[in-house]
Symmetry: C2
């Protein structure tokens, strides 16, 4: 069973490391022969929008998935006509576009901050009249890790924001004050089996995930998050891992965005759950029984951004699991992560503090 993965980043690499024991083999499409995934699998060199190389990959594997979201959907529809491509392209196409995404949430009655589509400066003014300031203007496409968005605090911010993003479709969102950010990660197999991980609490900085804590153990929110995820599963006859990020506002879940893939906030599942999100993604798209998503105690995950900490003091922390993605350093680039596992939340928090002191 050879699986093709579009993108050989850290997600693809961790999918391969989890999938080899299940007898899968892996071939990636990526621009770099030394990409994290290419170091542990075969590589087809090419851009993610190179139809020829996408076809070359599709013709040489049994099943296809992706680790990057920004692949032109029309090319993927062509591939999905010829080969098993999962998660379904319509789910990916929705995640690529904030307007489609918000409309999906509305259709499925999943609460979101208030929003308005914006396609002109007049429309931006009208949207601000409706939603009020402060508000966030975001590009509909190609935004991630805090890019492609800006906060509007006063009326004078509107024109510069419009000019900054001029020409691309935008969305204005209510600026919400939330108690915390959490995410739910679930998995559905091609056989229709579903399983859910514990809610994870996420701490962002400048729009990039810094660290996560699991479980975020609030049973009524867990049930609600699973119910919302189930609606997305059903909507797309989904297969694979799926993530929804939420704000917690007044003790309620308000959806921020979906990711139709394994997710940074689920990296703790490698050591902190019976079966990781990576193995379950492979099981799901291959149509195999899903693995147990139960947690093993308490976990914290810290991203290494821009530079890797020295290995020795990190590994000296009890229950530390180090993940070097094999990337060259670049400011704010995700180069690796470390998960701390412990039997108690207190021991986990102690390990997390030691780790954060090393990361700076």
């Amino acid at each position: 069973m050879k699986i093709g993965i579009i993108g050989a980043g850290q997600l693809g690499r961790m999918l391969a490391l989890a999938g080899y024991p299940l007898g899968s083999r892996f071939r990636f499409l990526d621009r770099s022969s030394d990409a994290p995934g290419a170091q542990v699998g075969e590589i087809v060199l090419g851009r993610f929008d190179d139809a020829e190389q996408l076809a070359a990959l599709a013709n040489s594997v049994d099943l296809m998935t992706f680790d990057v979201e920004n692949v032109p959907a029309d090319l993927l529809y062509d591939i999905a006509d010829k080969i098993n491509f999962l998660p379904p392209v319509p789910a990916l196409e929705t995640a690529q576009d904030r307007l489609r995404e918000k409309r999906l949430f509305a259709e499925l009655e999943i609460p979101t901050p208030r929003w308005q589509p914006v396609d002109s400066l007049d429309a931006l003014h009208a949207a601000v009249d409706d939603i009020d300031l402060p508000a966030i203007v975001k590009t509909c496409r190609l935004g991630y890790d805090g890019r492609g968005q800006t906060v509007l605090r006063k009326l004078e911010d509107l024109q510069p924001a419009w000019e900054r993003f001029a020409g691309v479709p935008l969305i204005l969102e209510q600026f919400v004050r939330y108690e915390r950010e959490v995410s739910i990660i679930g998995v559905r197999s091609t056989e229709g089996e579903t399983a859910y991980y514990a809610l994870t609490e996420n701490v962002h900085e400048h729009g990039i995930l810094r660290h996560s804590l699991a479980p975020y153990d609030v049973p009524n929110l867990q049930r609600l998050a699973e119910k919302y995820l189930q609606r997305v599963f059903d909507r797309y006859d989904y297969a694979g891992v799926l993530t929804i990020e939420f704000f917690v506002i007044d003790g309620k879940l308000v959806a921020n965005e979906i990711a139709p893939r394994v997710h940074n906030s689920g990296h703790w599942t490698i050591e902190g759950a019976v079966t990781s999100q990576f193995e379950n993604h492979i099981r799901a798209i291959r149509g195999l029984p899903l693995g147990d998503t139960s947690g093993l105690g308490h976990a914290a995950m810290v991203n290494f951004l821009g530079q890797l900490p020295v290995l020795e003091p990190v590994l000296a922390i009890r229950g530390a699991h180090y993940h070097d993605y094999g990337k060259s350093p670049r400011p704010m680039r995700k180069l690796g992560h470390c998960t701390i596992t412990a039997e108690t939340a207190a021991a986990r928090d102690e390990g997390l503090l030691s780790l954060l002191a090393l990361v700076g």
Copy 2:
């Protein structure tokens, strides 16, 4: 940090899968470009006694280790003069020869069954006079998984046994009746740090490991086994994972053999311990702090010999972790294994029974 591994079997493959997250890269020496390790790393093609290819591997990596024991020690001493080669060659050389091994146990006051070296038919008769029948005659070298040995039950068995193995050094061992077989796996780093896993109970069939259960929770035997392992560590200024297999006789430990490497009876540590034997071997030889060897509940490991069971029913067992080594089938060949993890011994045993029913 590129690590060279002599032999690209399942042990090398699992070392690589555990070592990538620590930022290690892997290059193997093996005769097959589709060996289990070669599927997940780089390969240098050659036999294990090919001095030229061994040197080619040594010249292209930062550190060397092995997954096969049967590499001529004189070639390894040459390599160890030029590059960091761990575990130490003298430990491997001892494990390659039952006579050296028994003398080591005697020197370190680790109990064994009674034994005698045999280099002639007369010496065999004399040894049988001393040790009594039944007894086992074994070749000193190249015996593993039950090969290179035969049981002597009556005096008429001596001559055929001598003729069968004629010309190679032999050892006669007392045939012991034991309650069970257990193994201790420990790890020592180049910095002198040590850690030990829980004793594992092993069930063999025709000399090949069929399944293991951990922990074998008998505190005084655990302490004793660790003490014995510590003596071997000290004797060789050891670095890496080391295993001793014991018989339990009248509630006491009697050593059978050592393996200066990760061991089949420790495969359960991948999911059943905080840090696996594979990751700890890499940490140890790189001189990194060792990972926590604590167990996570109860584990059982079943070897897949000769053929792999169908994936779906195995994965449907709660807490099942499947490991396909990517090998082609051959009678009694180790093709993979499955570990069952559970919070209680009872749940683990229930999973084990389901799994054994599928393996046949």
